[in-house]
């Protein structure tokens, strides 16, 4: 069973729910809920939680549901943060780094190719290194930042799971990083939206593969 968080201001929780339902059972977890009973994988979806006031994700991290998610992640549960969800997980300290405003200052909405950097992550299980996934991005603050020594460590430990394909970095993310995990590898954050790439009818079903990989772990 997937749990998809919903904050005031979330806007991608329905697509995330629908993506999860293509590969398993799923339910919405309201931001005031702390009950994750029966949930085997958590998705923190995109949107503008709490209006993105102060900084994207800064306020959502204090919600009761996020405290439950932090505990869940601490016990090894898999957590996928997409876009605003990625920002929330960084703010909560569950992922390293931060997301800064795009270097072009524009809201971006486009399809990008992602390169699978490792096949050792639970989120890329069954994928090949160097394989390409076509997934859309749509964000204003997606420039991944971490200090240089942190970036070196992330790369050395295999925590960089997805990169923007050469020449397609849309936002100025350092080292073309599109998705990173925590050290334990059970929490992934990415700016692109795999939940919007689940059906060939809308251009690509590559995003579904991440959700499938999560099911394989939960099962």
């Amino acid at each position: 069973m997937f749990g998809v968080l919903q904050f005031p201001g979330s806007c991608d929780e329905r697509d995330a729910l629908s993506a999860c339902e293509r590969v398993g059972d799923a339910r919405i977890v309201w931001h005031e809920d702390v009950d994750l009973d029966g949930i085997e994988a958590v998705v923190v979806p995109g949107g503008f939680s709490y209006g993105d006031y102060l900084r994207a994700g800064a306020i959502a991290r204090f919600s009761p549901a996020m405290e439950a998610v932090a505990e869940f992640a601490g016990k090894g549960g898999s957590v996928l943060g997409i876009c605003n969800g990625f920002q929330v997980l960084c703010e909560a300290g569950l992922l390293p780094g931060a997301l800064l405003p795009n270097n072009g200052l524009r809201f971006l909405c486009r399809q990008v190719d992602l390169e699978v950097v490792t096949d050792q992550s639970l989120f890329t299980r069954g994928m090949d290194i160097g394989e390409s996934l076509s997934v859309p991005v749509k964000h204003m603050s997606g420039r991944y930042f971490a200090p240089d020594d942190t970036l070196d460590e992330l790369e050395a430990r295999g925590q960089v799971v997805l990169r923007y394909a050469t020449g397609q970095n849309p936002n100025g993310s350092l080292r073309d990083i599109a998705g990173v995990t925590n050290e334990a590898g059970n929490v992934l954050g990415l700016m692109p939206h795999p939940e919007h790439a689940v059906d060939p009818l809308t251009g690509s079903a590559d995003g579904l593969r991440l959700f499938r990989a999560m099911v394989a772990v939960a099962a």
């Binding site: 102060l54 900084r55 800064a58 306020i59 204090f62 703010e91 780094g97 931060a98 800064l100 405003p101 795009n102 270097n103 072009g104 200052l105 420039r143 930042f145 971490a146 200090p147 100025g172």
Partner: protein
């Protein structure tokens, strides 16, 4: 007391907002202005400043990417409203 917290992007981190403002200045006749950075200003009422650094690091600023500065405001110096 009334307190003002200034939050700025850390030095060395690309600040596209500051750059955009700076680039707009020559066209307005301010070609001699440079080093523009855009941050945030938070004003608040606090009984003591003791725990404000903690508040700043937990919520108002993200210490990874931002520096903060806490200033006590003299009476009559605060923003109206």
């Amino acid at each position: 007391m009334r307190v003002r917290v200034l939050i700025r992007p850390k030095q060395g981190i690309l600040d596209p907002q500051g750059k955009a403002v700076e680039r707009a200045l020559p066209a307005l006749g301010f070609a001699d202005v440079s080093g523009v950075h855009v941050g945030r200003l938070v004003e608040l009422e606090a009984e003591s400043t003791e725990r404000l650094p903690e508040l700043c690091e937990k919520l108002l600023a993200n210490p990874l990417i931002e520096d903060y500065e806490i200033q006590e405001i003299e009476a009559g110096d605060s923003t109206p409203g």
